[in-house]
Structure formats: structure tokens, C-alpha cells
């Protein structure tokens, strides 16, 4: 029971991080970045390929690689599309996502690459008659720390205020001096850092990395930001969290029917887009502007 709750919470936290990563970029440029999936994947590949290094070094390396990939993505592709219709950018990111998957396949092969990363993670911790895996405990703690850090960053720092303002109205924010290029690049860096954490958490649970490794996570994180509110960062995180918790609970409750949990989540997307197009936390009309 404790294990179930802890799993639900840590899965929810992981999805919240992923949704936040997507939401950050969406906020500043109205881009739903499908290729976020490939950021998660490259983070996981980096961890697997540098397995022989100490875990912290390997992880730091993966953070650097992933955020670099995110910045390059912005610089080479998305910067040129800035101001294009969101639907055009959506197709472009879909194309970029496919492109990178193929590049990974060419570089690392179509078959999964695996390595045992931090084997002590799968060990169990026992207290008061309850046993939980190290991995889920660490994931839960890590996501809580990260979400708190993000909260601090968004609410207490000038960067966070600029980010929130730009998400609400980029034009006015620029009139006040918010530097568009810097802010967008920084948003991509942070999105990359979050992708690195998400990739690390995923790879600990499932060290079989293949070219489409980050896909499911990204699609569900996308569901999360639609549910929570696509233009609001706390909404994105909350939506992601809800998706993670629901998915985890559905998997437990539905038994054999759990293969359909995706359908239930997608159906929720339908309903929310119909009755609250801006998401649960919105005050309406957000999607109209989009």
C-alpha cells in the first residue's frame, strides 16, 4: 500500500517535471515541442554510454549534453520559426522529433542499449514492516526537491517573473525590456535540464534505451499540460502530476484493463478541451489567443 502510494507520487512527480519542461517552452514561444522526447532520450543514452564513469559525473555530463541539445534545437530550428502559427511549429517539432529518432537509430542502433545504472537503486529499504525500493524513494525525494526549486525560481527570481510575464504576454514583456532571445534560450536550457532529470529517473527504472525511449513520457506530459492549463506553469506541473498519479492508480486498479489507461487519459483530454479549453487552472479564453 505504502509502495503503491509512493509509486503514484513519484510517478506523478516525474510527469510534473516533464510537463513543466514542455510548459516552459510553450509559455515563451507557443511551441509544443514534440522533440522534447528526444531530449529525454539523449539524456538516457548519455547515461548508458558513460556508465563506466562515477554516477554523479555521468549525470552531470548528461545534463550538459541535454541542455546543449535543447539550445541547439532552438538556435537552429525554432528561432527561425518564431512567430509562425502554433500549428506550423507543432508540425515542425513533430518532424524534428522523427529526424532525431532516426539519427539516434543511425548512431546507436534500433535495438535497446542497456547498462546497469546505480544497481543499489533497486535495493529495498525496510522500516516498520514496510519495504520500499530505493529508486522510488529517491525519485520521490528528488522530484519534491526539484519542484520546490522550480517554484522558488519562478516566484522569487527576476528570471522567473520574466518567464511568467512572457508566458502571459510576450509583446508587452518585451516593451518593458525583457530580452526575447535570452529568455527563450534560457527557457530551453531549463527545459533541457528537466529533460535530463526525467531521463535519469526513467533510465533507472528501465535501463533499456532505444530511439523512441522518451516518446510515451512526452505524449503523456503533453496530456498533462492540456489538463492543467497550457499557458500556466503551475498548471502544467499540476496537470503532469495528476496524469502520473492517475496513470499509476489506473494501472493498479484496472487489472487486465490497464492496457486501456491511455485511452482514458486521452478521453480526459477531449473532455477538458471541450469544457475548459484553457485547462483546469485557467480562467478561460487562454486557448482562444493561442
Amino acid at each position: 500500500m505504502i509502495q503503491t502510494i509512493l509509486n503514484a507520487l513519484s510517478l506523478g512527480g516525474t510527469y510534473a517535471l516533464a510537463s513543466l519542461g514542455l510548459g516552459l517552452v510553450f509559455g515563451v514561444m507557443r511551441l509544443v515541442n514534440f522533440a522534447y522526447s528526444e531530449l529525454i532520450t539523449i539524456a538516457a543514452y548519455t547515461l548508458v554510454m558513460t556508465n563506466q564513469l562515477p554516477i554523479m559525473v555521468s549525470f552531470l555530463f548528461s545534463v550538459v549534453v541535454t541542455s546543449l541539445a535543447a539550445v541547439l534545437m532552438e538556435l537552429l530550428i525554432y528561432r527561425r520559426l518564431r512567430g509562425a502559427a502554433p500549428a506550423i511549429m507543432l508540425v515542425a517539432s513533430f518532424g524534428l522529433s522523427k529526424l532525431l529518432q532516426q539519427v539516434y537509430e543511425l548512431c546507436f542502433g534500433a535495438l535497446p542499449r542497456s547498462a546497469s545504472i546505480a544497481p543499489w537503486m533497486s535495493g529495498e529499504l525496510k522500516f516498520a514492516g514496510v519495504s520500499i525500493t530505493n529508486a522510488s524513494l529517491i525519485t520521490a525525494i528528488l522530484t519534491i526537491v526539484l519542484l520546490l526549486a522550480m517554484r522558488y525560481l519562478l516566484n522569487k527570481t527576476s528570471f522567473g517573473i520574466q518567464l511568467k510575464a512572457a508566458s502571459a504576454d510576450f509583446r508587452t514583456a518585451r516593451l518593458l525590456g525583457v530580452r526575447a532571445n535570452h529568455l527563450i534560450s534560457l527557457a530551453f536550457v531549463m527545459s533541457g535540464v528537466l529533460a535530463a532529470f526525467v531521463g535519469a529517473i526513467l533510465v533507472v527504472g528501465n535501463p533499456q534505451v532505444e530511439p523512441m525511449f522518451g516518446m510515451n513520457m512526452t505524449i503523456l506530459a503533453l496530456v498533462g499540460i492540456v489538463i492543467g492549463g497550457i499557458s500556466s506553469l503551475p498548471g502544467s506541473a499540476l496537470g503532469g502530476f495528476i496524469v502520473g498519479v492517475i496513470l499509476s492508480l489506473l494501472n493498479t486498479w484496472l487489472g487486465n484493463g490497464r492496457v486501456y489507461s491511455y485511452s482514458w487519459l486521452f478521453a480526459a483530454v477531449f473532455i477538458i478541451l471541450l469544457v475548459r479549453p484553457g485547462g483546469l487552472l485557467s480562467k478561460g479564453q487562454e486557448m482562444e489567443r493561442v
Binding site: 530550428i77 513533430f94 529526424l99 485511452s263 479549453p277 486557448m287
Partner: protein, 350 residues
């Protein structure tokens, strides 16, 4: 009133705009398919893709609303046509079909009827989902159609009462020759061309240009979109079925993200706003893809062989999509219908 606007539509009709694309499609299909069996198969698959891209053009091209969901109509069409034509012995004895719902086991149609049934199924599915989807714009529509694809895939992939779930359904009847798929595609091209010229098509394009203004003019956007979504769903269902009859099997994965991506890329590379764009995009993307595939297998193309690593093909296609979006967002056709090159049309005048 309707007759009048129909005549008005006809005055926009240009013989070259429809006739030359028809000749190009028919001519290149007949010429290439005679050269080798592998090229014949390639042409058959390309015709399926063209049918799918035509379907996307009808809706996405005219309305400007993005759809990732058309794969679900193709899935439904493929399943209907596949189950209708697979032999009874396979349906009764294949492991993957042991749980198949009895009425589906008994469901039996000939090839022509099964194609018709799959088109109807695609159209009905689009009609049912469109009532809701057509209310959404821009990004919301993109995500909702993606969710539709996800649900359809998820259910068909897992449910073995209505199909082979994640297995392949073998023994689907195959097209005996190129004639039937080619005729279907040519017919669809004519229909799409006249649809684009019709009052409905033009109204839909007006809503694409200016959402607010057309609402102000009293156009019921949801209804206009819905009609075109149904027509588009019909063609997508047919495209899915044709794909099954070319391959001789149905597998739901064939119509998922890769298929969606490939067909959307064709539409966008060619230019979504015109029939010519859809045709050109399909020809260019399929052509490039086939040449690269042959080079990946170290087969010469017109005497030239370049040894390419496997996977280059998909990279180039995805790269093409991204580059087109960056440099020529209206596609190679720039949204125009087919026009004779300047010097040719001058000769005709003089």
C-alpha cells in the same frame, strides 16, 4: 441559388489544372510499374499514400486546421476491409483472432464492396468525432486529433474482440493489378479538385483566411468544417483499406505515428492548399524515399549507385519536412494548382 454557385465554381475550372496532374499520376504509374515487380509494389503503395494525402488535403489544406487524427480513419478502414476479405479459415484458426466477435467472423464482402464499406466506415467515424473536434482551433485541434489517434490505436492495439490486436491479420485479398487502385485514385483526384472549387470548399478556405470575419458573415464554421471532415474521413478510410489490399495484411502499427508523419510530410512538402500540392508532395517524398531505399540496399538508380547507411531515408524525409517549413512554408507548389510553365502557355496563346 445552388445551381448558380455551381456554375460560378465551374468557371474557375481550368482544364490543365486537373488534366495534367491526372496524366502525370496515370502515366508515371503505368510506366514505372511495368519496369519491375518491386517498382510495381512501390507504385501501389504510393497510390495508397496519395489517397491518404488527398484526404488530408481536403480537410487540413482547405480548413487550415491541423489533424494528426486521420490515421484513425485509415485504421478503421483497414480493419473493416481486412476483416471483410480475410478468408473464414484464417479468422477461425489464427491465434490472434481466437477471441474475435462472432458477427465479425461471419462478416464477408468481396473486394469492391469491402472498399466501399471501409470508405463509409471512415466517413462515419469522422462524422461521429468531428462534431466535437470541429469546434477546436489551432493548437487545441492539433492536440485533440492526436488524442483521437492515440485512443483508436490504443483500443485496436489491445482489443482482440474486434481485430487481431497487436498481431497482423494475414490473408487479406490483394489487388490483382494496378487498375483498381489507380482508377480509385484518379477518381478521388477529380472529386477533390471539384470539391476544392465548389462553394463548400471555397467557403472553408475563406474561414481559413479569416476566422472572425467569416463568423461575422454568418458562416457556420463548425458545419462547413464538419462536412469536409466527413469527406476527408471517407477518403482516409479508403486509403487505409487500399493499403491493406496492397500489403495483403492489416497491422495497426502501420497506421500510427510513422504513417501519420509520412503522409503529413508529403502534404506539407508539396503544399497543403492545392490538389497539385498533394500530388507533387506525394510524388517527391515517395520518389526520394524510394531512391534512397534502393541506395540503402545498394541497388543502382538509373545506373547510379551510392552506398548509404540504413536509416538515411527517414532522416532525409524528416529533414525535408523541416527545411520546407523553414524556407517555403506553403510547400513546393506554393499553394497553387498546376500551371504550365510560362513559355508553354505563350505558345498556346499564339
Amino acid at each position: 441559388m445552388f445551381a448558380k454557385s455551381w456554375v460560378k465554381g465551374l468557371t474557375r475550372f481550368s482544364f490543365t489544372e486537373i488534366f495534367i496532374p491526372l496524366i502525370i499520376v496515370a502515366g508515371s504509374s503505368l510506366w514505372l510499374s511495368g519496369r519491375s515487380t518491386s517498382l510495381l509494389l512501390f507504385i501501389k503503395f504510393t497510390l495508397c499514400y496519395l489517397m491518404m494525402v488527398l484526404s488530408l488535403q481536403v480537410f487540413v489544406g482547405n480548413s487550415g486546421v491541423l489533424s494528426f487524427g486521420h490515421g484513425s480513419f485509415a485504421m478503421v478502414g483497414a480493419f473493416v476491409s481486412g476483416l471483410a476479405t480475410a478468408p473464414l479459415v484464417i479468422k477461425q484458426h489464427a491465434m490472434s483472432l481466437s477471441n474475435l466477435w462472432q458477427p465479425l467472423v461471419d462478416f464477408k464482402l468481396n473486394l469492391g464492396m469491402s472498399l466501399l464499406a471501409s470508405a463509409i466506415a471512415g466517413g462515419v467515424f469522422a462524422a461521429l468525432t468531428g462534431g466535437f473536434l470541429m469546434r477546436l482551433n489551432g493548437l487545441a485541434a492539433g492536440i485533440a486529433t492526436f488524442a483521437l489517434l492515440g485512443i483508436t490505436y490504443n483500443i485496436l492495439f489491445n482489443n482482440n474482440h474486434i481485430g487481431p490486436s497487436n498481431q497482423a491479420l494475414p490473408g487479406v485479398s490483394q489487388f490483382s493489378s494496378l487498375t483498381l487502385p489507380l482508377v480509385l485514385v484518379l477518381l478521388a483526384m477529380v472529386l477533390v479538385y471539384f470539391y476544392n472549387l465548389s462553394r463548400l470548399g471555397r467557403t472553408l478556405r475563406a474561414t481559413r483566411e479569416d476566422n472572425m470575419a467569416s463568423r461575422g458573415l454568418g458562416i457556420n464554421i463548425v458545419r462547413v468544417r464538419w462536412m469536409s471532415f466527413m469527406f476527408s474521413g471517407l477518403l482516409a478510410g479508403l486509403a487505409g483499406a487500399m493499403y491493406a489490399h496492397v500489403g495483403g495484411a492489416v497491422q495497426v502499427q502501420d497506421y500510427y505515428l510513422g504513417f501519420t508523419f509520412f503522409t503529413l510530410a508529403m502534404l506539407i512538402v508539396g503544399g497543403s492548399a492545392s490538389l497539385w500540392g498533394a500530388v507533387l508532395g506525394t510524388i517527391v517524398v515517395s520518389g526520394v524515399s524510394q531512391i534512397l531505399l534502393m541506395w540503402e540496399q545498394s541497388t543502382p538508380v538509373l545506373g547510379v549507385t551510392i552506398h548509404l547507411p540504413i536509416g538515411t531515408r527517414a532522416i532525409v524525409i524528416a529533414g525535408m519536412l523541416v527545411v520546407i517549413l523553414l524556407w517555403r512554408p506553403n510547400g513546393i507548389s506554393n499553394g497553387n494548382e498546376f500551371k504550365l510553365p510560362n513559355f508553354l502557355s505563350k505558345i498556346k496563346v499564339s
